[in-house]
């Protein structure tokens, strides 16, 4: 190996590593030793912490028991619409105001609008309306058992082609005159 190339290689290597360490390295090390900097110690946990956060969000969103549709109860005489709050959420009860759930789904909001419209068009003092009774259960008669098949074979029956009886046509008058001549 030539000396010139060795010198060039060493020169290239020294140029690649020709950097000085940061001036504050000593103070940073000492402050870390004395319980200061945790900058680089957090990084290895960044990904697991992020994955855990995503998992928690998914669990909150997809957890069961978060149905939106709830039965609407109309109490007698008040004209108020009381909507049960969604599961797991506290109901905000401001002093002297009707009870309204802080957050309701879109379907419940639509129900509220329908009921409010119905209430608005009713008499000023709405009569009491009893709660709907549960409908009678549907009774479905049992279907008769299908008749058993009497076919012994599923092969198609042979075609029966009857001969056509086509009567002879009468000769037209012109043609008849031509024959007579």
């Amino acid at each position: 190996m030539s000396a010139d190339l060795d010198r060039e290689i060493d020169r290239a290597v020294r140029a690649m590593l020709d950097r000085e360490p940061p001036a504050l390295l000593r103070s940073r090390v000492l402050s870390s030793i004395e319980g200061g900097d945790r900058r680089w110690s957090i990084a290895p946990f960044a990904i697991p912490a992020g994955a855990l956060a995503i998992a928690i969000v998914l669990w909150i969103v997809l957890a069961p028991g978060r149905a939106v549709d709830r039965p609407v109860q109309i109490s007698a005489g008040s004209g108020d619409v009381h909507l049960p709050p969604p599961a797991g959420e506290a109901v905000v009860r401001p002093h002297g105001s009707p009870t309204v759930a802080p957050r309701v789904g879109a379907a419940v909001r639509r129900q509220r609008h329908v009921v409010a419209a119905a209430v608005a068009h009713s008499e000023p003092v709405a009569p009491g309306i009893d709660a709907l009774t549960a409908p009678a259960p549907l009774s479905v008669g049992t279907l008769p058992a299908p008749a058993t098949s009497t076919l012994s074979s599923i092969q198609p029956a042979p075609l029966r082609v009857t001969a056509l009886d086509v009567p002879a046509l009468e000769m037209p008058p012109n043609a008849a005159r031509g024959v007579e001549r």
């Binding site: 190996m1 030539s2 010139d4 190339l5 060795d6 060039e8 290689i9 060493d10 020169r11 290239a12 290597v13 020294r14 140029a15 690649m16 590593l17 020709d18 950097r19 000085e20 360490p21 940061p22 390295l25 000593r26 940073r28 090390v29 000492l30 870390s32 030793i33 004395e34 900097d37 680089w40 990084a43 290895p44 960044a46 990904i47």
Partner: protein
């Protein structure tokens, strides 16, 4: 009595002009300032070893800091079999290799790939000083640029050995301890790296360099 007096005198001398063994003993006893002095003495060697492994000054800073903190925590395990510098460099190299493989580095590269690659290229394409003639200067510049590119493209085992050996900061024994290989293997890797570089330079038309 005479021996005890001699030991006290040596200890006193070390306290007045602390050599490295004295600093290490004081640091092992919990003297943070003594350890700070050791950091000051070896910060350049540690930083450049980390730079040789990671190729990034920013990551080398993190690795150097982490290595010194780990060394302080493990001072009780230092028995003086090797020099303190060798022991420290061994810790540094291990931290640097862990960083080289770490997911943190992967994430940084994902977050700012252009910046990281450009910084590495800038480092490798750093221009050398002026040569004898203008033509020599041009050829030298081009050769240096090509060498840096080729060195960066060497297999890691060859590149690590060549960079550490060429840095001028470490003895072969220190490098062999860092890489946990025999000195003979280290010398072979350095020689092989130079041979590969020569072959590649000739293939690129740099046959004038002999």
């Amino acid at each position: 009595m005479l021996l005890a007096h001699s030991i006290d005198r040596v200890n006193a001398l070390e306290a007045a002009e602390p050599g490295e063994p004295g600093l290490v003993r004081r640091a092992q006893a919990g003297d943070v300032e003594a350890f700070g002095e050791l950091v000051e003495r070896h910060r350049r060697a540690v930083f450049r070893a980390a730079l040789a492994a990671t190729g990034s000054p920013a990551e080398a800073e993190d690795v150097a800091q982490e290595a010194f903190v780990t060394a302080f925590q493990k001072l009780g395990t230092f028995r003086g079999d090797a020099s303190f510098k060798t022991w420290l460099l061994t810790i540094t190299w291990r931290k640097a290799i862990d960083r080289r493989k770490s997911i943190v580095r992967w994430m940084r590269r994902l977050a700012a790939p252009a910046a990281g690659d450009q910084a590495d290229r800038n480092q490798m394409e750093q221009l050398p000083g002026a040569s004898r003639t203008q033509e020599d200067a041009l050829l030298g510049t081009e050769l240096q640029r090509e060498l840096r590119t080729l060195i960066g493209a060497l297999p890691r085992k060859l590149r690590d050995a060549l960079l550490l050996a060429g840095a001028g900061e470490y003895s072969y024994e220190e490098i062999a301890a860092m890489l946990t290989i025999p000195v003979g293997t280290l010398k072979w890797r350095v020689s092989e790296a130079r041979r590969v570089l020569r072959v590649k330079l000739e293939a690129k038309g740099f046959s004038h360099v002999r």
